[in-house]
Amino acid sequence: MKTFADHTERRHSRTSCRLVQAALVEYLEGQLPAGERDSIAAHLKSCPRCAAERISLQKTLTIMSRREFPEPDERFWMELKGRVREGIRDDRAPSRRSSPVPARAWAPAAVAAAMVVFVFLWWAQPPLPPAPGPRPTLSHLELEGRQSLKALGDTYQDSEAILFPDSPGDSLVSLLAALPRPSEILEQALLGVKMAEEPDLWESVIEEETHSERPVDALLEELSEDQLRKLSVQLNRLFG
């Protein structure tokens, strides 16, 4: 990739300004190699537009330094340690499940999860044929999710399955499975809507799933406010 230092144009063409502006944050943090830094400094002296951009970004960083992070006192840390110990102790007790989700929250969530799977299937009509190759497909994941639903309570409630999925396909299924609250149901159904709207995107996410630990994250990052709002309305109708 071309850097500003490689760029030899003397005049302030759009290209040189763009290259400078792309490197300004790193420049402000003093993270550029000397050559590039000097070139940008020279450019800034003679380009009012880029100089103004530098000042503006600097001001933003200064404003952000005013964000307050109150430091908790020693008592907080002592109590925290106590709560962690308690959590670990509870965790070891045979009567308690390993999930942070309270058991009483699970039953309605499981019912709701089943509804979500139903909605998934309903949206995906007619059902897609099974995948010919080893690559997971939507129908494969749906089937896996449906088959897993019965065993989910014990298998997937442990949130480690989400954080550290054993196999790439697990992350989606376990996420679908570990729906402890209505907000998560919303999230999953959102995936369903997104999938119905843009099957190509969904397919690409599934493809990514074979290479990444957190494909669902990638999909969720792409959701717009508008899609969220639309979906909220839709889901209120469905589950409200």
Binding site: I63, F69, G87, E160, S183, S232
Partner: protein, 185 residues
């Protein structure tokens, strides 16, 4: 990498020495809390996340492969769990957040430095909250916690270039949101 004092503590813990986990917790709890607080903007939630992160770490340490530093591993759990909390909250509070944002925007015309300073704190929080979760994590870890892009890349499982680029985008988004405060002294 296996001979660091930190890894020795992990080995001790795996041999059943409970004090070793306490020591690890003492060394890392403040950073974990600050990352969570920076991402979530709420003390109670950050405290919950910190608690949960160490419970999970306790449970999962037996699976630690010593391929990365303990802090990288711990911060990854922190970021993932915080992102998960943000997403739940985003969806749950979606409409009310829009209302807050609208209310803040409608206050733009109010004069007075004092009012502006009061708003600024809220606006900074809103600006950070408006960043996508991963971008927010990157900004918080680099700007506030001063973690190097390379270390953040390890935590997030992305390339260093992608982290740098995401950080720059975050700063520019924040600038767009906060530019009316630029001349505030």
């Amino acid at each position: 990498m296996d001979t660091t004092p930190e890894n020795e503590l992990i080995h001790k813990f795996l041999e059943g020495e409970q004090w070793a986990f306490d020591r690890l917790m003492n060394q890392h709890q403040k950073k974990v809390y600050r990352i969570a607080l920076g991402m979530l903007g709420d003390h109670d939630e950050a405290a919950d996340v910190t608690q949960e992160v160490f419970i999970r770490a306790f449970r999962s340490l037996k699976n630690f492969k010593f391929e990365s530093r303990f802090s990288t591993w711990l911060h990854r759990i922190t970021v993932n769990y915080s992102i998960s909390r943000i997403r739940h909250r985003q969806i749950r509070n979606h409409l009310s957040l829009s209302e807050v944002s609208h209310r803040l925007t409608s206050n733009l015309g109010r004069p007075g430095r004092e009012l502006a300073l009061k708003d600024l704190g809220e606006e900074i929080e809103q600006a950070v909250a408006s960043l996508p979760p991963k971008q927010r994590a990157i900004f918080v870890m680099h700007y506030y916690e001063e973690l190097a892009h390379k270390e953040i890349a390890r935590i997030m499982g992305r390339s260093e270039g992608a982290i740098k680029s995401s950080y720059c985008q975050a700063v520019k988004k924040l600038r767009k949101r906060l530019n009316r405060y630029e001349d505030l002294r």
